[in-house]
């Protein structure tokens, strides 16, 4: 081995060893808010208009450029403040190709995380396309009504990394800015991948999320070190007090469940990580812990910390999407077809409760044990019947399956087997429930198809869906 790599190996080993010794003590409080990434987000913006005064040609002479631009300027400022991002809007509109090219150079130099161009004449689409092609960063094109026909939009809307909004709805622009912020959160996230016996760190393509693999035993060893602290006691009391009903778990189960939560926070802080996904079933199967982590994971999810099951990395990334982009926890699940009702049952044990949003009241839950092992605490979260939902699943870094539906019920266990939270969903535009694509999809409350389009457009992700028409037509082969 060369001098250089020998040096690196020594350095690696010592780095890991010292890291293990650091981090919060089992009695330390870790603020969950400190675990959610808070990235810097910079967006450059400009108006594109034709030389004034306007005469014929859309938006027309009657269009009050100064008034509309003042409104958009104020709206952008407000959105930026709300989202915690930095938006730099050019003080004057750009009105010729030379200045567009100059602005593109400025963008290339300053490397913002995205740009926003606000069109103020239907003749500016060529310039907008130029920005889309040359800027080298994601581009949001906002074309208020009166600036485009379908022909204008068709080309740019299909460009990779470009999201076109042809509307008067500023909320769509804010949604796109939210997508930029979410992507930055993905980039700033280190997810702990707790499985096997490896120590490594890699980066997920396109999303930029860091994956730190640590041995599975790390978690149960840290759990063993975790005493019942005041925090654990309070959270266990809260868990029981807020339950709509308690079926199996006793006080000790609740304490152990909250020890998993506190252990996870501590581990995340120690590893400078923001999310985790663990081979939980393997750990339960090996009887290494007295409780699966389900209830602890629910707590983390409710606080915006992604906690995924079964070391399914893309499942965790799908959970992260609802957390970072939609500001609500998702519910990673096993998809079960209900062929009599032609519905989908989304079943698992780790649903968040703040499914309407982190700042909204939680959904009711029943304290149950983990049904597969009949130990510990898993919550049956009761999803609101009649409400729309969205199913998302990254199949990899390049594709996101997005389906929508409506909650039609919560399936009790028993009589059903499987998992404690079992949400029955009538799918939209999927003729046969057996055709629903994906596994460990993430269900989230609300119909977010249009919002997710922005994220996929800006980051070159194919947005796909389950087949509209039955692939089972005609019966058995």
């Amino acid at each position: 081995m060369s001098a250089s790599t020998a040096g690196a190996s020594v350095w690696l080993t010592s780095a890991r060893a010292s890291q293990r010794e650091e981090g919060p003590a089992p009695t330390d409080y870790v603020d969950p808010a400190s675990l959610r990434p808070k990235p810097e987000v910079r967006v450059m913006a400009t108006f594109l208009e034709f030389p004034r005064p306007y005469w014929l040609g859309w938006p027309g002479t009657a269009y009050d450029l100064d008034a509309r631009q003042a409104e958009f300027r104020a709206a952008l400022e407000q959105s930026a403040q709300k989202l915690g991002i930095q938006a730099y809007l050019e003080p004057r509109p750009i009105n010729n190709e030379g200045d567009v090219r100059q602005w593109i150079q400025k963008v290339k130099g300053e490397k913002p995380h995205a740009v926003l161009v606000i069109l103020q004449h239907f003749g500016t689409w060529g310039w907008a396309s130029l920005v889309g092609k040359e800027a080298g960063v994601p581009v949001i094109i906002f074309s208020p009504i009166g600036m485009a026909f379908t022909g204008h939009v068709a080309g740019p809307a299909r460009m990779a990394g470009v999201h076109v909004i042809s509307s008067l709805e500023w909320s769509a622009v804010e949604n796109a800015l939210r997508a930029v912020r979410a992507k930055r959160m993905f980039e700033e996230t280190r997810v702990l991948w707790i499985r096997g016996n490896e120590h490594s760190e890699t980066v997920v393509e396109r999303l930029g999320t860091k994956v730190r693999a640590i041995p599975r035993d790390t978690f149960n060893q840290e759990f063993d070190r975790q005493p019942v602290t005041e925090e654990v006691r309070e959270l266990a009391a809260q868990l029981r007090k807020n339950a709509h009903d308690i079926v199996e778990p006793n006080q000790e189960d609740a304490l152990n469940a909250m020890r998993t939560y506190v252990t996870a926070k501590r581990l995340l802080a120690r590893e400078e990580a923001h999310a985790l996904s663990m081979d939980c079933l393997g750990m339960v199967e090996a009887k290494l812990v007295p409780t699966p982590p389900c209830a602890g994971w629910t707590f983390l999810q409710d606080q915006g910390i992604t906690a995924g099951c079964e070391a399914d990395l893309y499942g965790a990334l799908s959970l992260m999407l609802t957390s970072y982009f939609l500001d609500r926890p998702g519910f990673m699940n096993d998809p079960v077809p209900e062929t009599v009702h032609n519905t989908l049952i989304a079943a698992h044990c780790t649903s968040g409760t703040r499914i309407a949003g982190f700042d909204k009241p939680p959904a009711p839950y029943v304290l149950r044990n983990h049904s597969e092992s009949a130990i510990g605490v898993a919550m049956q979260v009761l999803w609101p019947e009649g409400e729309p939902i969205t199913l998302v699943r990254f199949t990899g870094p390049h594709e996101l399956i997005v389906d929508t539906g409506k909650v039609v019920g919560n399936v009790p266990t028993p009589p059903a087997g499987g998992c404690r939270t079992s949400v029955e969903i009538a799918m939209d535009e999927v003729e046969d429930c057996r055709d629903v694509r994906g596994f460990h999809q993430v269900v989230t409350l609300g119909n977010h198809r249009a919002a997710l389009r922005a994220f996929c457009d800006l980051y070159g992700i194919k947005m796909t869906r389950s087949p509209r028409f039955s692939t089972f037509e005609g019966g058995a082969a």
Binding site: S4, W11, T202, V204, E272, H398
Partner: protein, 387 residues
Amino acid sequence: MRGRNLGTLQVASSLAWAICVFLAGVELTGQEVEFSSPGLPPSKMDAAGRLVEDWGSVELQVDGSTLAEASPKVFPTMLDDCIPAALAQVDRGPIRVTWFAYRAPIFPSGVDVLTVRLEAAGRDPVPAWVKLRLSAEAKMALTTARIGNRVVLSVPLETFAHVQTRDWGYVNETTAMPGWAKPEGPADPAYANIRAGMGGVPILYRFRVEPGSQAVVILGVCESHYDRAGIRPVLYEVEGARPEVVDPIARWGRHRPGALPFRARDVNGDGQIEVAARPLPAARDRNPILNVIWVFQGNKIPTLPRLISGEVSQTAWRYVDVGGQNDQSFYLGGPLEFPVMVPATGSRQLTFLVACPGSSAPVPESTAWTADSLRQAARDVWLAWRR
């Protein structure tokens, strides 16, 4: 050897060429250098500068009539002050050739990034051929070398920016399928052949034109696999024209040759018109197909039935039998051979991705990784790991 400045940071212009050679006191010649990324098994560069992996090795060969013969020196180095790497360097008369390799920690198993830099110090440009030789039998294509299903080496599309080009041709790797289509009725013979973007890969062509100029581009399509509509719609794009989604079965029927005219313009002024057949994400079959391309200068569109029948193909400025006999790559050279003109007192840099132990290199047509983002990933991981 000129200018090997140990202990200093070498900063070059284009791609953050920041290499800190920190070898004071270390023997420089005849050694092999291992490198890796946190937690991943190492690769090595041997004393001859070959990159040695679990599947075989990659040898760099740089040819040119004006180049002198010399052997490289191999030594360990640190990129960006934090990424362990192996570096080889040799002066070949009018150019200096430097290549280095580091591990990019891409999920799940990483990939080795091999960068070759040619620098000319003199006042004249220097023509050179960069060739990669693999020790193992691999199936070569434009952008990949595969052993079985494993991509052992891939050529990022950005690397081709430095490679000399032809006047027209395809710019990425898709599958040529001669005789795939069965055109019925009067049809140009080129309709029988296609390229298919298997696995949802777009089919991309480029045509050199006067910067900013206009042209008429007509795409010929004939679907012979499906017999019902709604399965394989394809998005056809020509630079400067409105894109069109076409379901060939719905529009013309099975085995029926069709033609799509576009008024093209070199919108970005780079002297090239781009043509693409892309998959639609929601399509049942996401493998786009394309049979023929005609390019006519000016803006007059020929009569389509005559065009389809092949009567005017020879009058076209460019006539491409896609996937057929006159099809060609946009780039000169062959698989893993890259003709490069090194500008006077300038440089050219080519990057390659090499499968490291346990990994497969990303496929250029579908990956989002770039030379910059790979380097950034390595930097991020090493800095965090160190912390």
